[in-house]
Amino acid sequence: MYDPTVARLTYRALLGRRRALILGALPLLLVVIAVAVRGLTGADDQTAVNVLGGFALATMVPIIGVIAGTGAIGPEIDDGSVVYLLSKPVKRPTIIFTKLIVAIGVTMAFSAVPTLIAGLILNGNGQQIAVAYTVAALVASIAYAALFLLLGTVSRHAVVFGLVYALVWEALFGSLVAGARTLSVQQWSLAVAHKVAGGDLVTSDVGLTTATVLLVAVTVLATWYAGQRLRSLTLAGEE
């Protein structure tokens, strides 16, 4: 199910040349903000929750997920070079699975690690807040990577649709319509974080059981359907 060559090519497509630097800019910004906030206010649990929840989990993780998830397959389909990959005797679900593993790894590395560092800077893991949000970021990384990888195989405008989901659906509708929050990767991962932190600082709108079931279901279904899409992929011309 895992093909090292495909993985190596995907890593190079995602992190090669200067792209790793651009991906690294966001986590760096988070750490800089954490340092600035700590310097401005001192260690404070509520502030840590605001920064980690409002900036790290709500903005940074989805955007890195979009870049890594769609970037793992989108450009190849876009410029047609995916046919060279598909013509090799590698099963297409295997290709998807490998690319998913790589996308998850990249998203985790660039979102969960800086979240943990920022959390430690902000309040030194008081009340398990840093760990809770790191776990949330790890869980969200998996679901986002699977979801946006599927988008990459479905649409040529995957990045736009991914961003619409991440910014408009989760941020805008999530804050206006309560029902939208039940269907949001962010809230599902917050449910897991709530379990880890235990206290009232980290809250979620969905229960842990629902969240876990939905997370697993979305990840598995998205991966399966992406494999199906790749099996019947037709290459269209430029728009």
Partner: protein, 302 residues
């Protein structure tokens, strides 16, 4: 080795170009200004998907509709309830709809320049009688005009609706004019930032993500830090923090000079002195974007 020798002793002095009687072109030469105008109008049409496939019309048109519908609803409500004033200021509208504006510039800026880079068509443009500056100016102006259409259209809807609802004419006209100045600045700033980022990468998807990241992440970061500064009662810092993201820059300029109510936490509008700094930064950023684009296209693909 054998090949090289053959090339070196090729039939050198026997070659000549025959005149086989093609006619030369003696029609009118439309020149540099015409080429620039064409590039401008084609880029502007392209920014709304006109002259391109149906699929590429969907997103820009959809975003345009999403921009205008809330304005139409507000107007309908104002007319129906015979309100004394519109529910939203002209200057505030673009700030509320900033996510849509960001998505538009993120999707259309790479569309405008990245494809030229990827398919290596830039040298073809420069084989026409246009210079680097013409290409940059045409693309910049086209995207800024497209943005101005996007952000100005809902203001026109609001204004017409306000006049239909018989609101105070002088008051509404003043607000409308202030709103137009503000969205013009916003269009130039966003178009400049979007084009600079998009012109670095030939890959469209990556360009979209980079533009949206710069626009929304900086806004998210600035808002979070501003909110924390507000909670800590260091209100003096709020206005200075606003200098670090495009949306808050426009917000600061219009609340200092264009009579808008600031969206900063606690409604902390910048003072006149700070407002002057805001204007300078906005103009400086627009000029810097233009300069960077010129530098970018000095040697591209040539």
């Amino acid at each position: 080795m054998a090949v090289e020798q053959y090339l070196a002793t090729g039939p050198g002095d026997q070659t000549r170009i025959h005149d086989i009687g093609y006619r030369t072109y003696d029609g009118p030469r439309l020149g540099r200004a015409y080429a620039r105008r064409s590039l401008y109008s084609q880029s502007l049409r392209g920014a709304y998907g006109l002259g391109r496939s149906v699929k590429s019309k969907v997103l820009p048109m959809l975003l345009f509709v999403v921009m205008c519908v809330p304005a139409a609803i507000m107007v309908a409500v104002a007319v129906a309830t015979k309100a004394k004033d519109l529910p939203v200021d002209y200057t505030r509208y673009a700030i509320i709809m900033q996510a849509v504006i960001s998505l538009y510039v993120a999707s259309q800026a790479p569309q405008s320049v990245s494809r030229d880079l990827r398919f290596k068509t830039v040298p073809l443009y420069f084989s026409r009688p246009i210079e680097t500056a013409d290409y940059v100016r045409a693309k910049f102006a086209a995207l800024a005009s497209a943005m101005f259409l996007l952000t100005g259209a809902p203001l026109v809807v609001l204004y017409v609706g306000a006049l239909l609802a018989k609101l105070d004419f002088a008051d509404q006209t003043k607000g409308f004019a202030q709103g137009l100045v503000s969205v013009a600045l916003l269009s130039l700033l966003f178009a400049g930032i979007g084009l600079v980022i998009a012109s670095v990468t030939p890959r469209r998807g990556f360009g979209i993500a980079a533009v949206i990241a710069v626009l929304t992440i900086s806004y998210g970061a600035v808002s979070v830090v501003q909110a924390i500064a507000y909670e800590q009662d260091s209100t003096g810092a709020i206005a200075w923090l606003g200098l670090f993201s495009p949306v808050t820059l426009i917000d600061g300029v219009q609340s200092a000079f264009l009579g808008a109510h600031s969206a900063f936490p606690g409604g902390q509008a910048p003072s006149d002195g700070q407002g002057a700094v805001y204007v300078l930064v906005v103009l400086g950023l627009i000029a810097a974007a233009y300069g960077l684009l010129l530098r970018r296209y000095k040697k591209v693909g040539l």
